[in-house]
């Protein structure tokens, strides 16, 4: 072996080692969360109210699970819809100044600290009614998700070959039919992936919820104008508490949250794989 070959091998070795090292935290985190949390998780854990800080009652994360479901649904309905149509606009009107500026702002917004978004939602939806509420949380999560979904939906529509666009419009259909009925199915992998990854992102968000839903409530669901809980926020609140019992619930909740997010990722991977034409 000559010198150059040896250096090449060495470089490859170093790079592969680094790659492996960078993946270690994922597995370490998963191991850590499941080792600590999984033992607390069972069906009643998913359904029951949280336990009192002391005593024997096991309790669960029912309200937080319902809350996360509610908030993610709100974010997907509001933020998902706005993000989708914004992305479609960005892709199909990319020649307009409005679209170019919108895209620039969305690219900045993706990187926005989400706690600031939470403060904004507090200002306009919590402060005026003087009560933490589910809608404010869903609104904050919507804002978190909009730029993300818009930019990815834009990519999905941009990837449609121009000749297919021409084929769709040559059928004499209106733009909504062309984009939503015909071409959406061409871009569906990209669009669904954008929605799912966006969903995983907001399911795990904590910061935007701190000032919007507070999360101390023990009720499942009292209405969109009432406080609600969410799993990430429950983890945050319980883990900071001095009670051992609540720490265990926090670990169990972390295991549930991680599982939800992993499931969403697996589904999105399957979607990407499904149609390889």
């Amino acid at each position: 072996m000559n010198k150059r070959k040896i250096i090449e091998k060495l470089m490859l070795g170093v790079i592969s080692t680094l790659a492996v090292i960078s993946a270690i935290p994922i597995f370490a985190i998963m191991f850590n969360v499941y080792a600590e949390g999984l033992k607390h998780v069972n069906l009643s854990f998913l359904i029951d109210l949280p336990p009192p800080p002391v005593g024997d009652r096991v309790g669960g994360i029912g309200p937080a699970l319902v809350g996360t479901f509610t908030l993610v649904s709100l974010a997907m309905v509001i933020g998902g819809a706005i993000g989708f149509f914004t992305g479609l606009y960005l892709s199909e009107f990319s020649h307009t100044k409005l679209s170019q500026y919108t895209q620039m702002f969305l690219q900045i917004m993706v990187e926005f600290p989400t706690i600031i978004i939470g403060l904004f939602a507090y200002t306009i939806l919590v402060a005026p009614i003087k009560r933490f509420n589910a809608l404010a949380g869903g609104f904050a999560l919507s804002i978190v998700i909009i730029p993300y979904i818009a930019l990815n939906v834009r990519e999905a529509y941009k990837s449609i070959p121009y000749t297919l666009k021409e084929a769709a419009f040559s059928l004499g259909v209106s733009a909504p039919v062309a984009y939503l009925r015909i071409l959406l199915s061409t871009a569906r992998r990209g669009v669904l992936t954008a929605l799912l990854i966006g969903m995983a992102k907001v399911a795990g968000e904590t910061a935007p919820l701190l000032f919007t839903i507070l999360g101390t409530t023990f009720t499942y669901f009292g209405g969109l104008d009432q406080p609600i809980n969410a799993i990430p926020l429950l983890i945050y609140n319980f883990a900071l508490s001095p009670y051992e019992r609540w720490h265990q619930v926090a670990w169990g909740a972390a295991a549930v949250l991680l599982t939800i997010i992993l499931l969403i990722f697996i589904v999105s991977r399957l979607i990407v794989k499904e149609v390889k034409l």
């Binding site: 070959p161 297919l164 666009k165 084929a167 769709a168 040559s170 004499g172 209106s174 015909i182």
Partner: protein, 253 residues
């Protein structure tokens, strides 16, 4: 004589680039009208200007008239979807919807345009379109399979069936055989001769031999200008313009 289409002083720009310059011609009904010319002279642009597919390109600008049955497709208040439904379009590169089945590719147009009342009528329409495109026998057992499994020539005939299923008046074909082998090409040429009984066909080709073989009328487009137009036999035997002669002879000789 009533015309299938009349084009008056048509000008097209892409940005600042003047692509079509004062193009004027008329196409009689139920004939094959060929537009020939060297690459880049504006043939595809001309077709897309007729059915307003050019509207998809934000940088394209059109002036002039394109009349079907006396109605200018560029007049204000016209319904562009109506305009496009008067035409069936077949593209240079076969472009079936790859994720849809063979059946769905043909059925989609009639379905979204509400051309049929029920499933059985749709089935009949799809079958007829596939038969007209001489594809039925090859695909009748694979209607549910994705269009992407077909060969290039079959895909192009599927695209012809898709265009026919819209029940258009005029069929626009943009070099429909450019990417096909001779066997598939001659199939599509035969098909055109059949179809002109029912439709007016406007075909773009950069192959003068093909124009000579199948067309009744031919127009020669050169750098965005219509140099010559006439009955095919006349244009090929006694071209009026020197450029036409060069193009026809140069390629044929």
């Amino acid at each position: 004589m009533s015309w299938a289409i009349e084009v008056n002083n048509l000008n097209v720009w892409y940005g600042d680039k003047h692509i079509l310059k004062d193009v004027t011609f008329k196409v009689p009904k139920n004939i094959i009208f060929a537009i020939m010319g060297p690459s880049g002279c504006g043939k595809s642009t001309l077709l897309r200007a007729m059915n307003r597919l050019l509207d998809l390109n934000p940088y394209a600008r059109v002036e002039g008239q394109v009349k079907i049955n006396g109605i200018d497709v560029y007049s204000d208040n016209i319904d562009i979807t109506w305009v496009r439904r008067q035409f069936g379009m077949v593209f240079q590169i076969p472009n079936p919807f790859p994720h849809l089945s063979i059946y769905e590719n043909v059925a989609l147009g009639p379905k979204v345009n509400g051309l049929v009342k029920d499933k059985s009528e749709l089935d009949r329409l799809v079958k007829r379109a596939l038969e007209q495109a001489y594809l039925w026998d090859e695909v009748k057992n694979d209607l549910k399979k994705p269009a992407s499994m077909l060969s290039g020539g079959q895909q192009q005939r599927l695209c012809i069936a898709r265009a026919l299923a819209l029940k258009p008046k005029i069929i626009l074909m943009d070099e429909p055989t450019a990417n096909l082998d001779p066997v598939a090409s001659s199939k599509i040429e035969e098909l055109m001769l059949e179809l002109k009984e029912e439709y007016t066909i406007i075909i773009v080709t950069h192959n003068p031999q093909q124009a000579a073989r199948i067309s009744d009328y031919v127009a020669f487009l050169y750098m965005g200008e219509l140099i010559e137009i006439g009955e095919t036999s006349m244009v090929f035997t006694r071209p009026k313009h020197e450029l036409t002669e060069k193009y026809v002879v140069g390629r044929m000789g």
